[in-house]
């Protein structure tokens, strides 16, 4: 084995062994993404609440009252509030996450949804029920929404305790957003930290054929989040990458133009 191969395999061995997420501690845990919540004066956020336990069991008709626990977080990862919402009997309910939902919504920038169910009704072995569902975003007064599904399986809830289940590696690694930036547009990258630790994040930018340049450096607390805004004026493609110890530093991307916006996980 030559030196280069040896180095490569050693690095691989250091980086690979762990999975993106750690198994939650409690067997009765339920899992949720940390969904981006945009509640400032320009945005509205909507969540499609479903009977996830019913979809797994093959019976979506509710015979008894079942609840989902919505938990709001601020950008430091601190829990602001929680609210129990009944699972809809009809199959689907669009929950509008606005000031009518909770008074603290303007301080919130992420939310999670934990479903209540009784364990014997689901035969899911060593698996855990997970809410990875659909969040719709709209500009204020717009009539239609753009939807994106959960991006990272971030946190678990069990008997009143919230656990961040994302993994981080021993060394920093790169995640390159799989979308070349093209303007004219404003890009907003929503990053969250699904690990139980603070993580240092370096954002780098590169024009095609150029070199990577650092443009931002900040720390994200556990379950914290941040939006990075980049204006791209021209149509030539360029890339963004995230250097951190996050196992998967994948952001949700909002691409804003004069006429509208697009949202996707990067």
């Amino acid at each position: 084995m030559n030196k280069r191969n040896f180095m490569r395999k050693t690095k691989y061995a250091i980086w690979i062994p762990r999975k993106i997420n750690r198994k939650p501690k409690g067997r009765a845990s339920v899992i949720s993404d940390l969904f981006p919540l945009r509640s400032d004066s320009n945005w509205q956020t909507h969540f499609e609440l479903l009977n996830v336990a019913g979809l797994i069991s093959g019976d979506n008709s509710l015979t008894q009252r079942r609840m989902a626990r919505f938990v709001l977080f601020n950008c430091e990862g601190e829990k602001l509030a929680e609210k129990m919402i009944p699972i809809p009997k009809s199959g689907r309910q669009t929950v509008n996450l606005d000031s009518g939902f909770h008074a603290s919504i303007l301080e919130a920038s992420a939310f999670a949804v934990f479903h209540e169910y009784s364990e014997p009704e689901l035969e899911i072995g060593n698996s855990f029920l997970a809410e990875r569902g659909y969040t719709g975003y709209s500009r204020k007064h717009a009539k239609i929404r753009a939807y994106v599904h959960g991006n990272l399986d971030s946190i678990a809830f069990c008997q009143g305790e919230i656990q961040a289940i994302g993994n981080r590696g021993l060394f920093p690694r790169h995640y390159t957003v799989q979308h070349p930036l093209r303007g004219p547009a404003i890009y907003e990258f929503y990053l969250s930290n699904p690990t139980p630790h603070s993580v240092s994040i370096k954002i780098q930018h590169c024009e095609v054929g150029g070199t990577w340049k650092g443009i931002k450096h900040f720390k994200l607390r556990s379950m914290g989040n941040r939006i990075l805004r980049i204006e791209k004026k021209d149509d030539s493609p360029s890339f963004i990458r995230i250097r951190s110890r996050l196992y998967l530093g994948r952001p949700v991307v909002f691409r804003l133009t004069d006429q509208g916006f697009d949202v996707f996980h990067g």
Binding site: G91, R145, A146, F239, Q259
Partner: protein, 261 residues
């Protein structure tokens, strides 16, 4: 692995193909690649060298720039390879040259009109030629929007075969109708004609064909587009044997729906 460009309805499609891996630790591939366009053509796949791409490069392909023949079924695949391919293939090539797992190596595919653009991070592996698909669609919108189900299917063989997808109310299992979907195609189903209400959760079932289902929303004035895929049943759980649970979920729903129709 293939990267799709699509064209459906009156929307143009685009593909942003980038030779940039998502992470710096899974792959060391950096050789220049031939990028082939591949599309179904009767009993074989037609294959044409589109360009070569070097590490770090990126380019945008639009459906309008391609021969309409290449998008006859709504989908044309792009495949980066160090090999030279023949102009006719009996089956799709099976070696992925751009490959990663955390996450999958993806490009950006989407649609645009003169006012808006929508996209998703795309990659496609050929699906089994005999398989089923069960999914739920929670984001049909109402009022100023037209809603479509887009089903993308690619199998290794070039055949374009027609199957059907059934649409149900997931609570009372009422059958709302069925629509044709095809292999090696981007199939479109007009969801507004099936009468789902805003509180209902539609369930879609194809017993003969797998596919990647998307909800596609188009503002009636064209000012906005929305595209997102719906989840397979395995996404309702994490950890453990998710494949086994997916099979179990499908089996239960199939049994129940079989009785209801």
């Amino acid at each position: 692995m293939f990267f799709p460009i699509l064209r459906v309805l009156d929307l143009e499609g685009f593909l942003e193909l980038s030779y940039v891996p998502a992470n710096n630790w899974e792959t060391r591939e950096s050789r220049p690649m031939n990028v082939y366009a591949i599309w179904p053509y009767g009993d074989f796949w037609r294959c044409e060298l589109h360009c070569t791409i070097k590490y770090g490069e990126s380019f945008r392909i639009t459906s309008g720039s391609l021969d309409p023949e290449m998008l006859k079924t709504g989908i044309c695949l792009f495949y980066p390879t160090v090999q030279k391919l023949k102009s006719k293939l009996n089956v799709l090539p099976s070696t992925p040259y751009w490959h990663s797992n955390i996450p999958e190596w993806r490009c950006t595919s989407g649609f645009y009109n003169d006012k808006a653009q929508t996209s998703y991070q795309s990659e496609i592996f050929p699906l089994p030629s005999k398989a089923s698909m069960l999914t739920f669609h929670p984001f049909i919108q109402f009022n100023e929007i037209k809603n479509y189900l887009l089903v993308i299917n690619v199998i290794r063989e070039p055949n374009v075969l027609s199957h059907k997808i059934d649409l149900f109310n997931s609570v009372n299992l009422e059958w709302h109708g069925s629509a044709p979907i095809n292999t090696n195609s981007a199939s479109i189903v007009d969801l507004d004609s099936f009468g789902f209400t805003r509180e209902e959760l539609p369930l879609f079932l194809s017993q003969e064909m797998a596919g990647i289902p998307f909800g596609l929303g188009i503002a009636k004035d064209g000012s906005m587009l929305s595209l997102e895929h719906t989840h397979p049943p395995a996404s309702l759980v994490l950890f453990g044997n998710r494949n086994e649970i997916q099979s179990k979920i499908k089996k239960i729903w199939l049994q129940r729906l079989g009785k209801s129709k």
